[in-house]
Amino acid sequence: MSATQAIQSSNDFVIKFANVNGSGSASANELFARAIMRMGVPVAPRNIFPSNIQGMPTWYEMRVSGAGWLGRRGGCDLMVAMNPQTWDRDIAEIEPGGYLFYDSTKSLPRSRFREDITVLGIPLTEICNREYSDPRQRQLFKNIMYVGALTALLGMDFAVVEKLIADQYRGKDKLIGANVNALKLGYDHAQANLSCPIGLRVERSNGVGDQIFINGNDACGLGAVYGGATVAAWYPITPSTSVIESFGNYCRKYRTDPDNGMARYAIVQAEDELASIGMVIGAAWNGSRAFTATSGPGISLMQEFFGLAYFAEVPVVVFDVQRGGPSTGMPTRTQQSDLISCAYASHGDTKHVLLFPEDPYECFTLGAQAFDLAERLQTPVFVMLDLDIGMNDRLSRPFEWDDQRRYDRGKVMSAEQLDAGKTFGRYLDVDGDGIPWRTIPGTHPTKGAFFSRGTTRNAYAKYSEAGTDYIYNMERLRHKLETAKKLVPAPVVQRASQPSRFGAIYYGSTSPAMAEAFALLEAQGVHVDIMRVRGFPFADEVIEFIDEHDHVFVVEQNESGQLRMLLINEGEVDPKRLIRVLHYDGTPITAAFISGRIADALAKHKVTPIRKQVAS
């Protein structure tokens, strides 16, 4: 190690694991993350994986943040380099003064290392080959061994990890013993041969509290169970697949009839996304709460059906776990790039309700609420998460449910109401909110049946090509979408410590990075009010917030500034007042990026009048 100072940091650093896909490293890495959390220290892990199943490089990046910042930080203080294939780039990525942990079984020339980092080698393969004969065991226990070594290197409590393993394999005592043994091998070897702890340390804290650790897709699946969904139809696509898998797992647990083992739900893997949304529409038309989960390519295929659901006013729910552009590759990276294709999905004059959860907690709550909203409004509702929230385990507020809450099934006319002579016009606005009443097939022998079709009908669902009927319908739908503004979750505002002429708007998975950026900017004396948008069509407060400020930064993870486009279009905002802060290289946005962009823009503004400069 040269003159560069080794990084010294307690509870605030980034560890990155470079692994080979399919080597069983994922569960070991997760075990390690959980161990840190058991010590009360918040951790934000992220998977970076290619769209391959086996043999390709994958990374697991773990931000340890005593302060509780869960956004990606960027950089790497300790690299756990377990993949020879990516060695050079992994070594290059380590911060000056950082640390490298590697398997020193095979000796490497000095030239393969760096002078300004601390190198920590343990002959993992050698120890494994000595201890285990089964090749699969050698692989799996090698992973556990490095967890043991890291436990020692970071000065962690061995007992915590040991207990975690015992909890994880409860009931399978043999596995507990074997895993703890491997853990100890790594721990002891590090203690005996390396100077433990290194400059990076995990110290007991109480930053985790009662938070839970779960990913957004699992939370969505659970939200759909609590939201009363009974039908799910889907077609596999990364990163949305596990929404349905989780829904299935939770249904088996919570929705299996205790008397006869039968299912209070139906899940169908369709032949493609057209069929999956078609099934969802059919089920919702027929009175079940139904949903699908997909990603951008599926959204593209579903376009025609979204229009049908919009105009036939069928309450469907779609979880869109957003990712990058077409084909494979970037698609396993995160983006917020389906806003436009969902907000105005389909041909004809359509506009859809979108919800933007920020974390697993909101994936659960907004996921459940989406079903109430869809039925109240009788329209498709899109829950717009992305790979970053969907597929990474995240510390999150624990889930809550109010047992007094009843599902809002919206305006469904019953046989009794029909018998009592209530006027029924399927597309008639009787309540002045643009939302008509519907009947469920089979309700009444002689009353309330109607024939659903797109737009070619009058308020009583009778075939009509009359322009007046069409206009009545379109105006009612516009009115309905106005009603939606008041029903979607309200935006969340955080004011700067001093009144500011500047604001920032953001949404979804940008949330933790934005919260941290806000704190960084405040610390620098840069004051910006921030607003997190949670729903579309925008509540009036969103446009009022823009009106209150001279300029508003719109922070997004896409290239074209899609939320900004929606704000300009829907709020009739002067585009010059909305400044793009866009991050779209496939990695999750960071606080450093956001605060850097905003600080730069505002610094420029100090030199020249803002109206000329910032808006460019």
């Binding site: 169970v225 009974t230 009839d257 059919g282 027929n286 090509e465």
Partner: protein
């Protein structure tokens, strides 16, 4: 075009079924199709079949795609809910509807363009899945609604109205349905209501995917010489393998047949399919035999009709999914929501 309410002129002596409904109660809006269109005859057959079977109209959900054929659900069963969906995608919407409520009768109506061209994927997969439905294709060999282009069921060598010859190999939806697992497969002709009505009745009482391909001439675009879907051509080449009578459990059986002439098939609900053999060798329980027979006759230019295959022990989608008996759309909050206690336990497990 605006909607015309059909005048409710009821003859006092109109016959009623055991539910007290007249045939009129099974009708719908006035058809807007061309006079003489085969599709209207199929609608009339559906009305008759539902009347005969004492079906409560509101217990039927009728779904269709897009096309002249797909418009017809508006013209029958006016007291049933209906859904005119998108082109070629009726099977998925029907599947979803069937998932939501297993107690209704699902009738899918489609065209040859709707099911054999744009919608062939959904057609195939709905059959494979075992959706409990009656799926009728009103097959005229052309796209009627878009003015007469060939569809995928047009025979090779058949001529369009403008004299263009079709060179593409036709898709036989009956053959596909047989191969893909439909458990009730029939073909008929819109001009032969004696044959068609019982086939629809049998399908409505069948459990599992029932498919009927009904050759249904388009008088405007495909009823000329050189067409193999014209009234004349189908009458000349109709090669019926059997004649069906559907006997409900309540009915008295008072016809007698010579031994060997009749085949009785009891369906899951107790209804009996009486099949009078016209082709002595034909066995409607032999799926592979049915497929061969179709191929052989098609090569001779014949159109094989009748109940071509039936498996009365077949299962359907809900059974495969093991869903509860009560329709999913009728399960209350208490059956669906695990509640706060379960959530607390789950939170604890996630720490």
């Amino acid at each position: 075009m605006t909607y015309l309410a059909k005048p409710k002129l009821l003859r006092a002596d109109a016959p009623k079924n055991t539910l007290g409904y007249t045939r009129r109660d099974y009708e719908g809006a006035i058809s807007t199709l061309c006079a003489g269109c085969g599709h209207d005859s199929i609608s009339a057959a559906v009305v008759q079949a539902c009347f005969d079977l004492d079906i409560e109209p509101h217990k039927v959900a009728k779904l269709s795609g897009i096309g002249c054929s797909s418009k017809t659900p508006d013209y029958f069963l006016g007291a049933s809910h209906g859904f005119n969906t998108t082109h070629g995608r009726m099977p998925s919407v029907l599947t979803g509807a069937a998932l939501a409520n297993r107690d209704l009768i699902y009738m899918g109506v489609s065209g040859d363009g709707d099911s054999a061209s744009i919608g062939i994927g959904q057609f195939a997969h709905a059959m494979r899945r075992g959706v409990n439905m009656t799926y009728i294709v009103e097959n005229n060999g052309v796209y009627g609604l878009t003015k007469g282009q060939f569809s995928a069921t047009a025979d090779k060598g058949s001529k369009s109205k403008r004299g263009v010859v079709n060179n593409d190999t036709p898709i036989d939806l009956v053959a596909l349905a047989l191969q893909l697992g439909a458990s009730y497969v029939a073909r008929s002709f819109s001009g032969d209501k004696e044959q068609l009505i019982p086939l629809i009745k049998g399908a409505l009482r069948h459990r599992g995917p029932a498919f009927i391909d009904v050759v249904s001439p388009c008088v405007t675009f495909n009823n000329h010489a050189g067409s193999t879907k014209s009234y004349d051509y189908v009458r000349e080449h109709n090669d019926a393998v059997n004649r069906l009578d559907v006997i409900l459990p309540r009915d008295q059986i008072n016809t007698s047949y010579a031994p060997g002439e009749l085949r009785r098939i009891v369906q899951h609900d107790g209804s009996i399919l009486h099949l009078r053999k016209l082709d002595t060798d034909y066995d409607p329980s032999d799926r592979v035999g049915a497929m061969n027979h179709l191929q052989e006759r098609h090569a001779l230019g014949e159109i094989v009709t009748g109940l071509l295959y039936v498996d009365s022990s077949a299962e359907e989608l809900h059974r495969h999914l093991n869903t509860v008996e009560k329709p999913l759309n009728q399960l209350g909050d208490a059956y669906l929501c695990p509640g706060s206690k379960a959530l607390e336990a789950l939170n604890a497990a996630l720490r």
